[in-house]
Homo-oligomer: 231 residues x 4
Amino acid sequence: MAYRETDHTRAKKSHTRQRLLKAARDLVAESGFAAATAAAVAQRSGVAAGSIYRHFPNKAELVAEVFRYATEHEVANVLAASVSLTNGEPCAARVSRAVNIFAQRALQGPRLAYALIAEPVDPRVEQERLKYRLAYADIFEDLIEEGMAGGEFAAQDASISAAAMVGLLAEALIGPLHPLRTVSTDSAAVMTEKQQQLLISQITALCLRALGADQADSPQNAAQPGTAATE
Amino acid sequence: MAYRETDHTRAKKSHTRQRLLKAARDLVAESGFAAATAAAVAQRSGVAAGSIYRHFPNKAELVAEVFRYATEHEVANVLAASVSLTNGEPCAARVSRAVNIFAQRALQGPRLAYALIAEPVDPRVEQERLKYRLAYADIFEDLIEEGMAGGEFAAQDASISAAAMVGLLAEALIGPLHPLRTVSTDSAAVMTEKQQQLLISQITALCLRALGADQADSPQNAAQPGTAATE
Amino acid sequence: MAYRETDHTRAKKSHTRQRLLKAARDLVAESGFAAATAAAVAQRSGVAAGSIYRHFPNKAELVAEVFRYATEHEVANVLAASVSLTNGEPCAARVSRAVNIFAQRALQGPRLAYALIAEPVDPRVEQERLKYRLAYADIFEDLIEEGMAGGEFAAQDASISAAAMVGLLAEALIGPLHPLRTVSTDSAAVMTEKQQQLLISQITALCLRALGADQADSPQNAAQPGTAATE
Amino acid sequence: MAYRETDHTRAKKSHTRQRLLKAARDLVAESGFAAATAAAVAQRSGVAAGSIYRHFPNKAELVAEVFRYATEHEVANVLAASVSLTNGEPCAARVSRAVNIFAQRALQGPRLAYALIAEPVDPRVEQERLKYRLAYADIFEDLIEEGMAGGEFAAQDASISAAAMVGLLAEALIGPLHPLRTVSTDSAAVMTEKQQQLLISQITALCLRALGADQADSPQNAAQPGTAATE
DNA sequence: AATGAATGAGCATTCATTCAT
DNA sequence: TATGAATGAATGCTCATTCAT
């Protein structure tokens, strides 16, 4: 397993630091990275602009940390979902759960999800995104390797498939949540609960097929297992 | 007397326009969209900064055109590859060809491919990217629908699967071609021909499985038809 | 009398020159001096931008000539109106006619009138405006001096009064025709014929009083002589 | 610990703002609005160009404020002069005082006065000028209405007459203070005290006549009441 | 003489970062 | 340590003018 939780605990330093991070995160979630200017973050957090540089070496680092801050939680959720619940639980079920959680969270906060997944900005942040994607990929990689070992999945390069899985998920979800499509906050562009479930089940089926999950067994089941695994 | 040197001046104008586009394209290919400032494009093209605005209404439009220019060609290639060669050619083979072309081209110019696929900037350009992804998705959508009709592919929502396919390809390729990994233009980071072929065949197999391509028949065949190297 | 008609005849030179002047004039009349850029004038006239400099040393000179072109006509009209029709015609009647003509023309083409009277731009044009105002002032100065000589008007410094008269007219008319007031081309902001006549008669009365025109005689008459003298 | 140096910094901020306004005002007074570019204002004030935008939303607003700043004072002076000093003071005397003050101030700073009255630029500033002229006109309108009510002035449309009065004053004064006439700051173009007084008395007389101020009574008196020098 | 593409200085504006208090 | 005013380099864009054809 590749994900580290070490930075996390170190980040707890000061209260001001937290306020800055929260303000930046909110701005990103509402209007994307471009809106998180130093001045805006300062104003929103009620902290002086100059003070940013007491807590972060530069703005990129602040934003990068926002990225981590927003991301660690997500990754942790997906990781938790991917853990085997019962002894000998099929990997397909675990993949299904992981995909579900990933998708649900993305569809909940579309603007943030888009920003995290696709809206790039600073190279420094881009690097963080790389790690973020890698963190997801690592989860999937582990799952795929286990699945292959158990003869459950097709033979494949687990690291390539894992990366592909992340891209598949991002794009399949980002289509609906792209800010240029979601322009209107009107109900028009918003998906119903039902539509979301349908989308998620389609994506899940796609993933399982891609991994070569033992479809002979129960193709239909695997594809739409009642909107997928219990979370 | 009214001069009719229009042909000459028109050619000249068009030439400058091309120089601007080329300079912008090169900058993007080398250092990403962010590096393609108006001043940089002007300097690189040997054209005055003000002249940009004789040829493009604004910088965003210039960049958008770079995008289109670089993109149309790619899409056309992939589309050509997706066409049925023989009557009754299986869709899996066509998907395989399309994926191969897409991947080969992306791996040829990694920085540019990354910029086109993932590096965002101006909303005007982002919109263009949306079209670009849609163009790919449309190709896949048609293939998928045809494949489903012929009973070759699993039942699925073709539009979701098509979008997912684009994401899958982008991410599986972008990992390797991400500028933060490919920092050095040195041969160090570059993949060998062999490695590239291997990567491509893995991705192809992944795609075909994801679409539910009739694996019972000839899993190995479907996975690496023609082009793709057996691993 | 101060007005010169010499430039006028010289301006007839080339046809292209005329087209440039007409195009510039139309632009000014429609949208003010600011809209009369070199490129706009060239396009509108169907003449190449570079050709402007074959006919005028610089853009300011072109615009200055537009000013003259638009202005000479106006001044000539007012001058004509100020001429004594019958032997021994009272100066008040002549002033009244001149004021009427000035006002009527201004209210007919408000945008142009505003541009000529108040919208400034280039120092070179401003200088032309100075001459323009002076040309009007000269007409009034002559009338005032004659009126004083005939005991018809109060004793006064004719040159000061004449300048003041021009300002009085301009401001009283510019209020209604100011583009920031006349924003809407809607009927709302447009004056009716009746309102215009009323405004003009008020202004005329004001002028005659200011000059000390023998009000004992016929105050009412002088003030509103049936919307003033025959044109 | 939260600092409360707000007073200090606020004072500093306000000081910089004043410096910017003063620099802009000086530039306008010396060379007109066109000379007050952002860079010039910054340099002259010894403040960084970027700092302008901490104090003003945009350049137009800065200039508009210069306008107001220069203008409010003037209008207040004229308003103060127009107030009735003794119970039952004739309106003619009040008009006379107002005109005198207006004229005196205009002749003191000719370049600035010209810029304020006649040199236009930005629509945003032009709008301010509209208000400025209206402020003067309002003062005169009130006076005229009072004068008419008291049978002191001729029957007239007070709002038209008031606007006309503003124009009369501006033009009669601007002639002498026009920058293209006053090109040289040399004493050559400057009026002597005596000449100024003469000009002012002429203008005053003109105004009073225009309003139909009871000239039968004491034409000479009305013309040069109190302030104005006998010619 | 006419063309119109090219020029480039100049403009307003933004924003991460610094530093006196 | 916190503040927030000040900084100034950088950006996209305009437009009168030039000049090769």
